[in-house]
Symmetry: C2
Subunit: 489 residues, 2 copies
Amino acid sequence: MNKEFNLRLVLRVMGSLALVESVVLLAMCLIPLIYGENDAYYFLISSGISFTFALAALFFGRNSSTQIGKREGSVIVTFTWIIFSLFGLLPFWLSGSIPSFSNAFFETISGFTTTGASILNNIEELSHGMLFWRNMTHWIGGIGIIVISLAILPLFSTSGTQLFAAETTGPTKDKIHPKISETSKRLFLIYVILTATETVLLYLGGMTFFDAVCQSFATIATGGFSTKQASIAYWDSPYIQYIIILFMILSGINFSLYYFGFKNKFSKIWENEELRYYLILLFTFAIIITFSLIDFSKIQSFTTLEKAWRDAFFTVSSLMTTTGFCTADYMTWKPMTWFLLLIVMLTGASAGSTSGGIKMIRIVISAKTCYYEFKRLIHPNAVIPVRYNGYLVREDILTRVLAFTLLYLLVAAFGIFVLALSGMGFQESIGGMITCLGGVGPGLGLVGPSGNFANIPEFSKWFLSLMMLTGRLELFTVLLLFTPAFWKR
Amino acid sequence: MNKEFNLRLVLRVMGSLALVESVVLLAMCLIPLIYGENDAYYFLISSGISFTFALAALFFGRNSSTQIGKREGSVIVTFTWIIFSLFGLLPFWLSGSIPSFSNAFFETISGFTTTGASILNNIEELSHGMLFWRNMTHWIGGIGIIVISLAILPLFSTSGTQLFAAETTGPTKDKIHPKISETSKRLFLIYVILTATETVLLYLGGMTFFDAVCQSFATIATGGFSTKQASIAYWDSPYIQYIIILFMILSGINFSLYYFGFKNKFSKIWENEELRYYLILLFTFAIIITFSLIDFSKIQSFTTLEKAWRDAFFTVSSLMTTTGFCTADYMTWKPMTWFLLLIVMLTGASAGSTSGGIKMIRIVISAKTCYYEFKRLIHPNAVIPVRYNGYLVREDILTRVLAFTLLYLLVAAFGIFVLALSGMGFQESIGGMITCLGGVGPGLGLVGPSGNFANIPEFSKWFLSLMMLTGRLELFTVLLLFTPAFWKR
């Protein structure tokens, strides 16, 4: 902690990342060429700017020591998302697809954090290239958070230095492989297999290949950008909608469970409490909402009942996995359903997945702790430890999990207040904050499923961009940067 | 735990309480006689019914063993409030002042739990006797919770049996006196002195003696029932409103601090972190809201500025101490202010006072724990304990405090959902639940300061009655009764 801040190393890492992005942006030129559109130029120039920055950063960061501390770690992780967004917004901004810089930044960081909140009010007018790049930001952001949380962080926390302890998505984890590169490769493979399978299934259901790829990128990353203004409601096909439901739910599962599945370690899957409670909560809420959508005063046809179930099931799956796709405007539903939807936006799905929110593992441990307080009251002299997946949870881990959950709610409350202060309405402040912090997408009221974030105040856009990042990096990484003690020598 | 449930003892205690209430109701006959009103009869008959029940309960409970366990304790504490409300509603109901039984029960339990949520929409049409009894329920409920939390509970928890551990208002406490009766006497004396002082000061400010007594009852108990439909806005006198602000704030302080004050142990007061943060939060929010009420586009007179400050200061003091008096309709203010008001309704004031909510001591400890998690991240090998009032807080106490805070928010979220399910609106569900659970009074929207709870669904009235009680008894006492394990032999 008392060492000089290693700026050179940070620059070198940023340079490498910008180099990667410049390559991806260059590859993006292919899409306009394939579709005979004339905006390849903007991808080329964006790639060039990114490349120039990369060279400069790598030059100034040359010969840097590899000595890395907590401050460097936090700065690197946070700025990875910011740098990616700053260069990633260039195609949108330069081409005039999104003329406002604030809007372009909001849209791009919403992409990379796999949030899916949008400022676009006529998505279909974008070119194939821009639409593809928009959904590519989701896909890159999704694999990024998976690799960080399952391959990089466990290494640091088991080596005793706990460098990135803050960002581990979830308080317990099983290691997949001791080597970062090996683990990353396996995770990437799972990610690609899931995406490819969904693409094929959607294509078979009648989507164009382009749309199938883009929706799959957004599903597996639990992002939620669609290539259509009406989102998934555009495809009025039960097959397509159920396929997307299935893959949203699959994307909300801890990716290490897939790995264990491939290794035939099925007990790890059956015994996983996070998965169990995630599915229980999802189905329970979907069933409650289905009933609320049915008008029991008259006889219902199967078609109406199926549509009610599908809309409810789709919406709960979409918001709980923090994807944000829509097949129905839930603002037209009963206000009671909004509260259920806000709750799943807060809980999110599993740690170690691409989903956001508090994560079910923390919800399960927090709920158990509350329940065990009752047991402790009834039997004050008995030792009643909290168990998770069969293991004892240490008291200091309990405190940490409860503190995280409370801090999350505290940040949400603070953000709601800031949004209201900036001039947003009652429902918009609540919905906008919870949806952006959790990386979901649609909120309530004017920022609900049929609305967008285009007309919120300029300040609120930048504030929500910061909140998307804060939520994505699980609070501590970003908040530490604002903690004076963190910078004290 | 494995003993037979001691129903006889419960009956005996209920009998004694009903006996006390029948005496108070009998004394209430004096008010109609003084004011020459003709409803003394209803108090007499209510007293008679209460007395008959008392005799029956004492008869069936005679020769009961004094063996008391947790189950008996929880049942006694919960049913104390229910029995008091059932007999206390009789004058309102029999006299036709409140013709609906649900409404009468709601109003009475709102009184005894010192909530102050009302179903009346023309308060001034009630007789002096009914108005006095209405505010008397506050005053009885207020001293009841103070004696339970500061005189009775500490004895049980220090004797090792932790009988009432659930209901202690606040996780740490200083004992005043080892004997219940002595401590109770001293607390009652402080309570009477505060009430009498406020009565005299309000009377000097121009209130009638009757109104002065009634408003003082409601202030010191942090109840909030007024004798006027317009609440404190009726008295458009800065003197009266500042006096009420002062006594609301005083009533939000832990009563044991007054005791230490009388004993010249001022260090206990200066060093009390709960008091410090309570005042800091109160003044900060009052100042923010004042600024939001001022129109900076034109030059402001001192009168306008003072009125803005007074309204903001009054409202924050009233809602944070969970009193619920009003001088302004905050639903006409900016939505941003509503969130600040919801936050103070959730926090409440000090443990060991008549106020409700989570209590500042838990908020302070929870906030410190969250903050210390940052410190622990920065210095992972250092032992960084959480301190409160200079003492270390044990890790299991931390867990308990965080679990309580989370459980409170969980119960609030659940209740908001139930209210929305029963047909209440978005704002009404949020505001109604938070205000009733915290024992405040006014909520948001139609149940806001200028509205009332008369038109909410019948089911919601009973549900909110239960929530007022659950909040008053700090969740565990009431929730335990719904825990199957609690009843298992």
